[in-house]
Assembly symmetry: C2
Homo-oligomer: 258 residues x 2
Amino acid sequence: MMLRVTPELNEVKDIVSVGVRNKWLVVLVGVFGVNYKGRAISELSCGERLLIIKPDGCVLIHNSEGVNPINWMREGSSINAKLDEEVLNIKVLNINPREELVLRIQKVSVVFTNGFSSVGELRVIGSEADMARKIYENPSVISKNFKPVSLEEQTKYGFIDVLGCEGEDYVVVECKRYRAGLSGVQQLRRYVEKFKKARGINNVKGVLAAPSITKNAFKMLTDWGFSYKRVEPPMHLIGEKTVQEKLSKFLHENETKN
Amino acid sequence: MMLRVTPELNEVKDIVSVGVRNKWLVVLVGVFGVNYKGRAISELSCGERLLIIKPDGCVLIHNSEGVNPINWMREGSSINAKLDEEVLNIKVLNINPREELVLRIQKVSVVFTNGFSSVGELRVIGSEADMARKIYENPSVISKNFKPVSLEEQTKYGFIDVLGCEGEDYVVVECKRYRAGLSGVQQLRRYVEKFKKARGINNVKGVLAAPSITKNAFKMLTDWGFSYKRVEPPMHLIGEKTVQEKLSKFLHENETKN
DNA sequence: GACCTTAGCGGCTGC
DNA sequence: GCAGCCGTTAAGGTC
């Protein structure tokens, strides 16, 4: 590990270079400005910021606020530090897409680099796919006679979350985890139209399943003859205990399956 | 500033607490696992990771790879560190939406906290709005007779990027900065239909302007009687010099306007 | 590789 | 506050 507090810029250059060459993690707090040219152009004037260079070569520049970086480069970039007079210039290059980031570092309060390799797996439950699965397993939330047929069925025009039957009719279900908006209604419309055309039939219903729906979306939906079904997503404001039980259950099931 | 290398966990607790209380930046590299409960549920097993707590209270947990954090909490969270036996537990709470993040820290290689306040402004050019402006100012990229009427008409009939006329007809233009897909076609369709209905007219054309278009999207577009116009976005693979000129020009114009 | 989708999307703008 | 939508969107899956 290498670490310096309020270092000279040539020391910073060395630490950054070593970190990058060894594919270590580099963290730097200092005063610098940033220029980006690539998919867009941006100019960020000088200020105190946090620079992170990860082992995979991606670069993050963070402000004092917010979850997202104010500037960044994706993995696989080439990184080069050069001391020009009173400024340490770090140039980050990517090909495909061709883009370039230049940092003009004036002052550094801390910099360090260290070997860094994350292991460990992230497991998430509560996605939209989980919601479709919930409907597939509890078809009565759509209607008494709804019989699900397929889940996440791929078509040329996107994939249908749940497809099923209701008596003589087909039913296409589009799920939204949160309040459904216009685009969800249009997705549903697209799937229903394509399904009708592909099968040469007309008895296809469309259902939008979501915990709630915007006013405009509801109007559009009913204008087109579709219907809305209120369905709570798998993880909507459920209490501590339930969550714990669900998580344990999920993890257990997952482990026994593998 | 406070900084420690391979500290004891009680020292870590103190540094984190001081940093959070003072609304400083906190950076920590160590071995820990993470549990999240809120909009979804996730479990991240133990591994070496980077923790950042920003002055605004948002929390980022980064892996050795990728631009995005593997776990995070948005600003305004309450943060509490507690030492339980051999583990330092940091609990982060947010209300609205109610969510909770728990870190189980086992080992720390570096931790520091420091005052941190970013100033400086980010200016970006090359967005979709810039593309609409480009079309508005160079209407011939749509067609010889195209006469733009309004730009980013964001309220009346939806967010129409560019609205214009072509002889007797109205033309609705939807822009995409990158290869246009199905959703872009649907947006266009929605705007055209809305516009027709609002005006009670039928002579409305729809044009999708983008550097390229997917095969399916093109089929859908033509099926519905709309057309595609290849338009390069403002910043597509342009050379160094051009970029510099554009940026200077843009900045200059912007400054003289203000 | 093209294509389509979701995301604990984030963030912004307009009402 | 809601609603709609862009993003240097990113990341993941299927065909």
